[in-house]
């Protein structure tokens, strides 16, 4: 079974813990990583890449010191090694300009507002994970219990 990661980035520890907690559902089949800054996340990405692990979903806060979430997601979007990684921006403080940038440059896959509904976050991540797994051609049957069935039905063509 391939190692598949879900990465969460937020500079506030409590928020980060809350996100990770809401994603507990995935823990037995997927690896959930928490980073407190964009730089920590980039380092982790290097490490995961060196181990040839998958980064399926990257969930990031926007307002963070030194490097913003949109900057981080843009960098990842332009990196060939992470083609296909699903990017989710989770923020309450993005201006319209930030949001436009996030959509145009970082090619966001989803946008959730703080404070978020745990159920909605879970469902969103489920769908993004399913998309990633089918698009990458990983064996969906191994992960099927945690995936979103309607998305699966829509994407399986052959």
């Amino acid at each position: 079974m391939e190692k598949i990661n879900i990465i969460c980035v937020d500079d506030e520890r409590e928020v980060l813990d809350a996100v990770v907690h809401d994603l507990d559902y995935f823990r037995d089949l997927f690896n959930i990583e928490a980073c407190e800054s964009a730089f920590e996340c980039l380092e982790l990405l290097e490490e995961l890449d060196a181990q040839q692990e998958h980064v399926a979903v990257l969930i990031s806060d926007h307002v963070m010191p030194e490097k913003s979430g949109v900057e981080l997601l843009t960098e990842v979007a332009l990196d060939n090694r992470f083609l296909g990684t699903k990017k989710l921006l989770l923020t309450g403080l993005a201006t319209q300009a930030d949001t436009i940038k996030a959509i145009n440059n970082a090619k966001l896959d989803n946008f959730l507002e703080k404070v978020w509904d745990p159920q909605e976050l879970l469902q969103t991540v489920k769908e993004l994970l399913t998309e990633y797994i089918v698009e990458k051609g990983l064996d969906y049957e191994e992960y099927i219990e945690k995936l979103d069935a309607p998305t699966l039905y829509r994407l399986i063509k052959y």
Partner: protein
């Protein structure tokens, strides 16, 4: 406008016309109906590959299907009516098996190696390490780039190699001043090296594989045997191309710095890839020791990479199935010409023996070079090789010059030397797309290299024959 319609009409009308002619009108004694149909299929293939009304791989599929319908033992009912003129029908399994002939398997193995190397970034990392000793002088950096491109394209597809090397080069070329001709040299060096490099091994480019099909029995050439003359040829040509490019387009910039990020992956899977890569190439080179021929060896990486999930179900999709099918069509054409007995028949009927053998070699290879400049190299090889192979086998006057091997190799090499236009090869198209090269510049370099290449090919074949390496 008329021209556009012609490209659709001609490939239909001319073969139909040939089909409907009476058998006796071809001027070949004892020609059978099956042979007549093969001629029609051959003409159809020629027209389709030259005019390209349909994708070139679709022409290959069409050849196979028409052979199944018209000259197989399970074809259409009216094609099998007993008649003294019918001739030999070909078994349908044999025609279908061209999709998995040993040559195709050889290429499949090559694709597996290339896909794994790219997936585990062996290619980029090797390029990074190998480029280091070439320093920063533009001239030598270019030499380094060309050598690495050529080596990679011996085992990977020329297109993939070019794409990778150009993506490394693009940021560097952007730093050149607008007027610096060095830009042109760099942008051209990659496709030129990739096109030339492909000649080095049997799996370097599809025409080589097609040629292997006709080099059988006492004429067969092993993987190592091919490299023994292919690699020196590539080295000489690369050197000439380098001199040509640096003289025509000298760089004014003093120093360039290629920046390739990354490090070698060290996961168990990555290490398996490295080992399999090396072992496969070693096994190819030492064919004499272990008894396996190149085709069987090619299946080893296929098994290893599938087993360890290095190439997954999804990665199978990255295989260029269209290229494999394109080659299959060529092989099917060869099988058709051969098994129907047409090849032997036609050669007997036409007095080729009256031609001077050297004239034939030069004529065939120049024709091939010309065709390869305007159409797919593989399609050129698909069309010309079965003809020259039959011709070579029957011409006794060719023997003092090395026999059919010489003729086949001259044509095969010529097929890879067609690179004077953006449409000649996918690497050329990619380089042209960079925007740094004008068509005129590409034509100048391409024509010069094509002609020089042919001359060197002749010299090489002459030498090989003298030392009795071939023929």
């Amino acid at each position: 406008m008329k021209k556009i319609q012609l490209k659709y009409i001609l490939p239909i009308v001319i073969p139909l016309f040939i089909l409907l002619l009476p058998v006796t009108s071809f001027g070949i004694a004892q020609m059978t109906l099956v042979e007549q149909r093969i001629i029609a299929i051959f003409v159809m293939a020629t027209l389709c590959w030259i005019l390209e009304p349909i994708p070139i791989y679709a022409t290959s599929v069409l050849i196979i299907v028409l052979e199944l319908l018209l000259v197989s033992d399970k074809g259409l009912w009216f094609t099998q009516v007993a008649s003294p003129d019918l001739g030999h029908l070909i078994s349908y399994q044999m025609i279908m098996a061209t999709f998995a002939s040993p040559i195709i398997m050889l290429f499949l193995g090559g694709f597996f190696l290339a896909i794994a190397a790219t997936k585990y970034r062996l290619d980029v990392n090797l390029a990074r390490v190998l480029l280091k000793p070439f320093g920063r002088n533009p001239k030598f950096v270019m030499l380094g780039l060309m050598i690495i491109t050529a080596i990679f394209s011996m085992f990977m597809s020329n297109t993939a190699t070019t794409a990778m090397m150009l993506s490394i080069l693009t940021p560097v070329i952007a730093l050149f001043s607008k007027k610096d001709l060095g830009r042109v040299a760099f942008a051209l060096s990659v496709p030129v090296a990739a096109n030339i490099g492909g000649i080095g091994t049997p799996i370097g480019t599809p025409p080589n594989a097609v040629a292997l099909k006709y080099l059988t029995a006492e004429n067969s050439i092993s993987f190592a045997g091919w490299m023994a003359f292919g690699v020196p040829f590539v080295v000489v040509m690369l050197f000439i191309a380098w001199l040509l490019l640096t003289t025509l387009f000298p760089a004014t910039i003093k120093e360039i710095n290629l920046n390739i990020k990354g490090r070698f992956l060290k996961t168990p899977k990555a290490i398996t890839v490295y080992i399999t890569f090396v072992v496969t190439i070693l096994l190819w080179l030492m064919g004499g020791v272990h008894g396996m021929n190149a085709y069987v060896v090619a299946m080893i990486p296929v098994a290893v990479f599938s087993m360890f999930k290095i190439i997954t179900k999804e990665d199978l999709k990255k295989i260029s199935w269209d290229v494999l099918w394109l080659v299959s069509g060529g092989i099917a054409l060869g099988v058709g010409l051969d098994k129907s007995g047409f090849a032997a028949n036609a050669i007997n009927a036409i007095p080729f023996a009256d031609f001077h053998p050297l004239l034939l070699i030069v004529g065939a290879s120049v024709l091939c070079l010309l065709m390869a400049n305007f159409m797919s190299h593989t399609a050129s090889a698909n069309l010309l090789l079965p003809l020259v192979a039959a011709l070579g086998a029957s011409m006794h006057s060719l023997l003092p010059y090395g026999g059919e091997v010489v003729l086949i190799l001259a044509v095969t090499f010529a097929a890879s030397l067609g690179m004077s236009l953006p449409i000649s090869t996918p690497p050329n198209a990619l380089a042209y797309a960079s925007g740094h090269v004008e068509t005129k510049q590409m034509a100048k370099v391409g024509i010069a290299l094509g002609i020089i290449g042919l001359l060197i090919t002749y010299a090489m074949l002459y030498l090989l024959n003298k030392i009795s390496f071939i023929g």
